[in-house]
Amino acid sequence: MNAPDSPVAAVGARARARFEEWAAQIGRALEPGERYAANYAGEATDFVRMNRGRIRQAGSVEQHALAIRLVRGARHAEHAVELTGMADDDRRAIAAAVAGLRALLPDIDDDPHLLLPDRVADTAHESGTGLPPSERVVDEILTAAHGLDLVGFYAAGPVWRAHANSDGQRNWHAATTFNLQWSLYDRGDKAVKSSYAGFAWDPAEWMRRMATARERLALVARPSRALVPGAYRAYLAPAALEEIVGLLGWGGFSGRALATRQSPLTRMQDGERLSAEVTIDEDMSAGVAPAFQSDGFTRPDRVALVRAGALAGSLVSPRTAREFSLVANGANGGESPESLAMAGGALAADRAIEALDTGLAIGNLWYTNYSDRPACRITGMTRFATFWVERGRIVAPVDPLRFDDTIYRMLGSNLEALTRETELLLSAESYGSRQLAGPRLPGALLRELRFTL
């Protein structure tokens, strides 16, 4: 458990001092002609999993992963180690890692695509001032959910990311956050999913969101309607649009994928356009994702990806920049957005259902994938609170439907409006470690969306 009596600032300072010591150890281990770059990913997280209004699994994880890259000329190799915070153990692990990499370098060819920063750019970011003990938060959650079939997940605690290199550059990003994702079930697959994430737990805000979820649960409790496949007007809430825009992050905006014609947005390179309402940036201003990438390049505040429906740019990693003679713009090796922002439109969010008139109000989509990648045709399912709406009023929840449509229709010819308000959707992903990412998105009103099953 994260100790409630340890001030966040003190915990963060200890973590940062530990990282500085690791960086110094690597630096001392270098031989003439060698350089290094190191990336640290650490966290101390409480995880509580809930099912049927009770606790299913609860625990704490503390982890410290340090990836060390040793460079000599244009040869380089990387080794990652799990450190313990115990000084002697960590010193031995770092020494062994550097020695192992040094032994490897003679066997490696020069890398023609190696690109490292040519100037030092330090950064430091700390956010979050502290959280209540997780067991107390979970008690609040389950007290409010009394009598309800709540299934959910609470993750809380500090997350640290850092970069250091042999030029003396230091980048530090620390965020103490919580992320609660919960679903209230009525029956079978009929449920409402909600989220509450941020830097400070506010009981009043939690109660407000829970009250909203209860109201929607009452709508979900109505008899459901099974729709036949076909084309329907549809309103995608921001959480639903996230499933579509998030999929585009899988290669869509990658400089390398565009250069090799593998991006699902390749046709936009040839002039295909989305609606003029669509403007998409990688926007670091929210401070969610670290302002540096793993090679040590810092990120610009904003990278334009789509402007007024036209492809305007891409995410270019240093390796891609060197290979294709492009300019690196702070992307990591995967060249996926981490802080994507889509501009809002003119539709007031609280009038979206009225503007939909008759059609589907889709709260969440699920399991999207490309069904024809070059055409950017995407399939996926409706999930959670998805309703049939008639004349601007919610009539009934609908059984899960499969859509299969292209991005050029969904966010192009069939995009009627985007909501004025946008929503920051902090990532709850925790594969291996808690992710520091999250898009800011509006809702989208579509003239039609094609459903196939």
């Binding site: 410290h64 380089h76 990652a80 180690v81 115990m86 490897l104 997940f153």
Partner: protein, 477 residues
């Protein structure tokens, strides 16, 4: 070292506790477009402490493997057990307290990792061979080797050490022509994944695959689109593994059926009352949980709760017999299950997962299966997957299709897709290939859980024939 020495006296008291130590080493070599990427390696070590006390249960994971670190993790886990006992879904006093003792090892454990120069030369040869035409715009060849030691020690006297070596090669070639882009791989992204050493590469003809896969990528980008309509589907093993995984494996996970995953990975159309009588598929459908097949990716001697693993039938002659549920889920549900409580690393708790989930071979040769098709498509290598949260309505796409007309293979088509509903799809299983059509494959990337976990699973399957399937192609070009 906690992996090969007695656990020190930790002066710790609880109704039951366990320590699961993991030491994993990984090495990766990759060549892309005839350029060797920098080699990468990792060594990750840590321990998961689990405690049952006063009816509650908690866990704590740390990379500090000193005696003080182990004790601190156990104390933290016990605090969680006490703090949550009053609101716990499970009464920990009703859960099993395993005491297994034994050792297990996969093929290839302890073998040489191979020199970086040797791996680079091998991969470079395949990369060079793939560059056959200017329309080949990208290609990547790589291999990842993972070796793990997992030790489970329990307060009931259990002490199990298991060692495994995984070989994960991959090869992908992309062609672009006439405004279209098509990618062909060697059985999918990391679709070849087995336990063992270099023999795994030989088993799949890795040497020489660069040219072969490049030829097929070019063929695909010039091929017509897959036709649409209701027709027969002959699915190759490297598509069957996805079909089995998504529409048999996930729906049979007992923790899904019990509702644990409803907030994330989803629920299941299978309910507890269906076991023992529900017709999941045709008489030809026989599915086993088989952790005993040496080379298959998720073979092991014990699961991560310490339950001994053995081959178990899940579906026999089309009838559903039992779920994929480990000892904890079995205690919760009263249903018999299998040894499948698994964690993907030291920092995640065990949950119900697939391991090796296999479709048993039938009696038809590949030629006999093709000969039975009037109009259909033979689909190879999964490329797209999507299924609803109850694991029922699915849509899958493949890299490569071959038309079948009047019992004969007729020509390559691109963008082959099909959709269906799990609850009815398996009842259209009309032919199951014999052992000569079988391949042992899998995936290292099965996602599930809160916190999320990506685990490795094995799937073995013959080619299978389905009738009356909704088949369709791409949007254009």
């Amino acid at each position: 070292m906690p992996f090969d020495a007695p656990i020190p006296d930790l002066a710790f008291e609880a109704d039951y506790w366990s320590l699961r130590f993991v030491d994993r080493q990984t090495r990766t070599w990759t060549v892309r477009k005839n350029v060797a990427l920098p080699p990468a390696s990792a060594r990750e070590r840590g321990v998961m402490a689990t405690v049952h006390d006063r009816g509650g249960l908690g866990y704590a994971a740390t990379s500090d493997l000193s005696a003080a670190g182990l004790r601190a993790a156990l104390v933290c886990a016990r605090e969680w057990a006490h703090a949550t006992a009053a609101r716990s879904l499970l009464d920990a006093r009703t859960l099993p307290r395993p005491s297994p003792r034994g050792q297990w090892a996969s093929p290839g454990v302890g073998a040489s990792w191979g020199a970086t120069r040797e791996w680079t030369d091998l991969l470079m040869a395949e990369s060079t061979a793939a560059a056959i035409d200017p329309r080949i715009v990208d290609w990547t060849v790589g291999v990842e080797i993972r070796e793990s030691t997992v030790r489970l020690v329990t307060s009931a006297g259990g002490d199990v050490v298991q060692r495994s070596r995984m070989m994960l090669p991959g090869l992908a070639v992309t062609a672009h022509a006439n405004g279209d882009t098509q990618t062909r791989t060697l059985h999918g992204y990391r679709g070849i994944c087995q336990q063992g050493g270099a023999e795994v590469l030989a088993r799949f003809g890795f040497a020489g695959a660069g040219r072969r896969v490049a030829d097929e990528a070019l063929e695909l980008v010039l091929a017509p689109n897959c036709p649409s309509g209701t027709m027969d589907l002959l699915a190759a093993p490297d598509q069957m593994i996805l079909q089995i995984h998504e529409s048999i494996g996930h729906p049979l996970e007992l923790d899904r059926i019990l509702g644990d995953e409803r907030n994330f990975a989803g629920t299941s159309f299978v309910t507890p009352d269906l076991f023992g009588h529900y017709r999941y598929g045709s008489e030809l459908l026989n599915v086993t949980f088989d952790p005993t097949r040496a080379e298959e990716l998720a073979s092991y001697g014990y699961d991560d709760e310490g339950t001994p693993a053995e081959k178990t039938w899940l579906i026999r002659r089309g009838i559903l017999e039992r779920p994929l549920g480990g000892a904890t889920s079995q205690a919760r549900s009263g249903l018999a299950g299998v040894a499948n409580a698994r964690a993907d690393h030291w920092n995640r708790p065990a949950i119900d997962r697939m391991a090796n989930l296999n479709l048993e071979p039938g009696g038809s040769s590949f030629d006999e299966l093709v000969a039975r098709v009037g109009r259909g498509v033979y689909m190879q290598t999964n490329a797209s997957w999507s299924i609803d949260d109850s694991r029922n309505k699915f849509q899958f796409g493949c890299e490569r299709g071959v038309l079948i007309e009047d019992g004969k293979l007729a020509g390559v088509v691109k963008n082959p897709n099909y959709r269906g509903v799990s609850a009815s799809f398996w009842r259209s299983l009309a032919g199951v290939g014999d052992a000569s059509t079988m391949q042992v494959l899998g995936t290292p990337y099965c996602g599930k859980g809160e916190p999320a976990q990506i685990i490795w699973v094995g799937h073995a399957s013959p080619a299978c024939l389905f009738t009356g399937v909704d088949v369709f192609g791409g949007d254009g070009s």
